[in-house]
Each structure stands twice: as C-alpha cells, then as structure tokens.
C-alpha cells in the first residue's frame, strides 16, 4: 500500500493568522494569561533594577547577600507564574486540539499554532512586564537619591538597562514557549478520540 503524500504547505502567515484569531477570540482569557506573564516579569525586573541601582549608588555593603536572595526568589516567582498561566491555557484547550486532529492537523501543525500564540503573548507580556518592572525599580529608589542623581546614573548605565530590558523579554519568551510546548506536544500525541473526550 502506498499513499503518495505531498508535504502540506502550512505557511507562516497562515499560522500567524490562526494564532492571532485564537488570541482575539479568547481576548479576556489572553489578557489574564498576559497579566500572569507581566506580573512575573515585572516583579523580576523591579528587583533586578533595584539591585543594580543600589550597586551604582554604591550604598554600604551588607545589602548584597539580601539582594541576591530577592533576585533568586523573583526568578522563581516569574517562572512559577508564567508556567502556571501557560499550562492552564493549554490544558483547557485539549478538546480543541482534538478537533484540529480530526480535520487533518498534523501534530507539528498544532504545536506550531500554540507556540506562535505563546510567542505573541510572551513578547507582549515581556515587553510590558519589563517596562513596568524597571519603572518600579527606579521608582522605589527615589527616596534614596534625588531624581537628578538617578537620571545621571541611569544615563551612564543605559546600556545595562537595555540589556536588562532585552533579557526580561527573552526570559518571558523562553518560559512561555517552553510552558506551552511541553503540554501542547503531549496533548497533540493523544488520539483524536481521547483528546475530544478530555475533561478539564
């Protein structure tokens, strides 16, 4: 028996359109998920910024060990918040994955759809999370130094802030993609009948 199967063309623009529609349709759900990401990233960014500024202001030692602790915790919080949001978001859509499988979606198609959605949310969440977080990190230091002092320091270390900003977005993207890829991959491996029967 030979099935002559051509490789189906599932172009990136197609994937983007489908993913975008899914985000739009689940607008409020997507907002909640994005808020989870924003919160995690903002917390992390705020603590990191605060730690950097303390460093630049060269405040007395002794604060450092405490700062490392906080940064470590903020990473864990970001990781937990983002993974939780994304795992939930995929888990409540296993039935939808079953429908995609019934109408001929390949496992890889389905995973791609979810990953692109996660990327969009990750970029969005990371961007706003970083802005809010860095802003807050600067804000909480206003009682330690005057605005003029801070401006000078921030301008001098602008490239470091930029790296921090990019790192926040990158972490958001990596965490959202990973926390989506694993459950989406697992769900797409189910037989369509199992996926359709799936109850949350």
């Amino acid at each position: 028996m030979s099935l002559d199967l051509p490789e189906p063309d599932f172009s990136l623009s197609e994937v983007f359109y489908l993913s975008y529609s899914n985000i739009k349709r689940r607008f409020f759900r997507s907002i909640i998920t994005a808020l989870g990401i924003i919160l995690g990233i903002a917390f992390m960014a705020a603590l990191l910024t605060n730690s950097l500024i303390l460093d630049w202001l060269q405040t007395e030692s002794g604060v450092e060990a405490y700062q490392y602790w906080l940064v470590g915790i903020s990473l864990i919080v970001a990781f937990g918040g983002i993974t939780n949001s994304m795992l939930m978001a995929v888990n409540e859509r296993v039935k939808e994955i079953g429908v995609y499988k019934c109408i001929g979606g390949l496992d890889s198609h389905i995973v791609r759809l979810f990953i692109v959605e996660a990327l969009l949310l990750g970029i969005l969440g990371g961007f706003f999370g970083a802005i809010i977080g860095i802003g807050m990190g600067i804000g909480i230091n206003l009682n330690r130094a005057s605005l003029d002092e801070l401006t000078v320091i921030l301008e001098a270390n602008f490239s470091t802030l930029l790296i921090l900003f990019s790192a926040c977005i990158l972490i958001a993207i990596i965490l959202t993609s990973l926390a989506t890829y694993i459950p989406a991959r697992r769900a797409s491996k189910l037989s369509p009948a199992e996926a359709l029967r799936y109850e949350n």
């Binding site: 489908l18 529609s21 429908v99 499988k101 390949l106 369509p192």
Partner: protein, 240 residues
Amino acid sequence: MSLEEFVVEIDDVHKEYTLGKVIIHALQGISFKIKREEYVSIMGPSGSGKSTIFNAIGGLDTVTSGEIYIDQVDIAELDAYELAWLRNRKIGYIFQTFNLLLAFSAQENIEIPMVFAGVPREERRKKSKHILNLVGLGDRARNKPGQLSGGQQQRVAIARALANDPAIILADEPTANLDLATGLEIIGLLKKLNEEQGTTIVSATHDLKMISISDRIIWIRDGRVDRIEDRADIQVDAMS
C-alpha cells in the same frame, strides 16, 4: 481514484479497554462492509459500541485487533502523518456536539481543513462559499459559531466535513443535540448530499428518524452486529 465497490471494510474488530481493574469489551468481533454512495445507519442502545465503531472507522482511536480498510487502505498500517492525511482528505466527521472552532467564522471553519491540505487561498475562498451555499448557509459565512443556532452550527460542521471531498462522511449522533424539526432538517440535508453528490454517509445514531432514509441499518448490541437490514426489508417488516 479507482471506484472500488466498498469504501469501508471492517473485519473482526475487537476493542478492549480497562476501567480501573475491569476489562471492558467494547467491540467483540464486528465485521461489515459499506458500499460507495451508500447511506448506512449504525443503530443500537447507549453503550452498545456505536461511538467506538465511529472512532475506529474514522481512525480517531486504535482498536485491539481486527482490520479496518478505508478506500482499500488498511488504517492499522498508517503512521501518524498518513493518518492525519486520511482524516483530512478521505473522511469528514460530524459530531453530536458540533465541535466547531469557536474562534473562527463559519467560512473559516470550512477553510481550515483545506489549509491543512495545502489548498491555495483563492481556491479555499471559492470552495468554502460554494459549500456554504450547498448547506443553505450562504448568508452566514461571517458568523462565528456562537452567533449560530444548533442546527446552523451542525450545517457548518457538515460543510466542514465536505471541505476536501472526502470518500466518506462519518456522523456520530448528528441529531442528538437538536430538536425534532431541526434534526429532521439535518437528516434531510445528509440525505440530499447522499443522493445529489453521491457522498457515502455512515451515521452512528439512535435517532429512529434515520431509519426511513437509510439504505441499510446495522444494528449493534453489546459490541456485536445484531443484524443488518436493507431498507426493502424494513418496509416489508412495517407492512406485515
């Protein structure tokens, strides 16, 4: 494509699964054949194995043993990629709960199987419009499933099933979530497609309204074929 006589052949199919510590024998040696352009209803009480047969024929679930041929292809020998292709091109599914993609309009729902099949955009637009008209929803193309009634959603599902000109349409209780009149409309539409387009239709159902329009009825009881009736026989039964 060769016009083989049988589009579905299933031979001695068994399906077992475990529920806790109990082994459930859902199918215990089911065999039947379905001819091209036939309208067959699989009937039986709840829990008799209708849906399990639906999943087995549709390649939606694996079976424990036995052979299933769709269009001369043994689906047990297909890998995941080929199975997806089969579900995409050879089989159209209709479900009790419609199972439309809620994020997309009626027309987009019909286009997505074509996206997976790699049909170019222009052709997709044209064909989905045509199919929507065929099921009587030409004016509802832009509506999302949430804005459609149950009967209309099932029409969209039927249209989606037709998207890639499948060899067979499988329906699992297509009228169970619809009221009497809407159910009759859906049955009428399926029959029309069967007669006018020559679509082979296999429907698992316990809706007795299906009896009068089916070419054959396969009665299932406790995971076995109880009896197979031709329409001619049924009419004789009714008269006697």
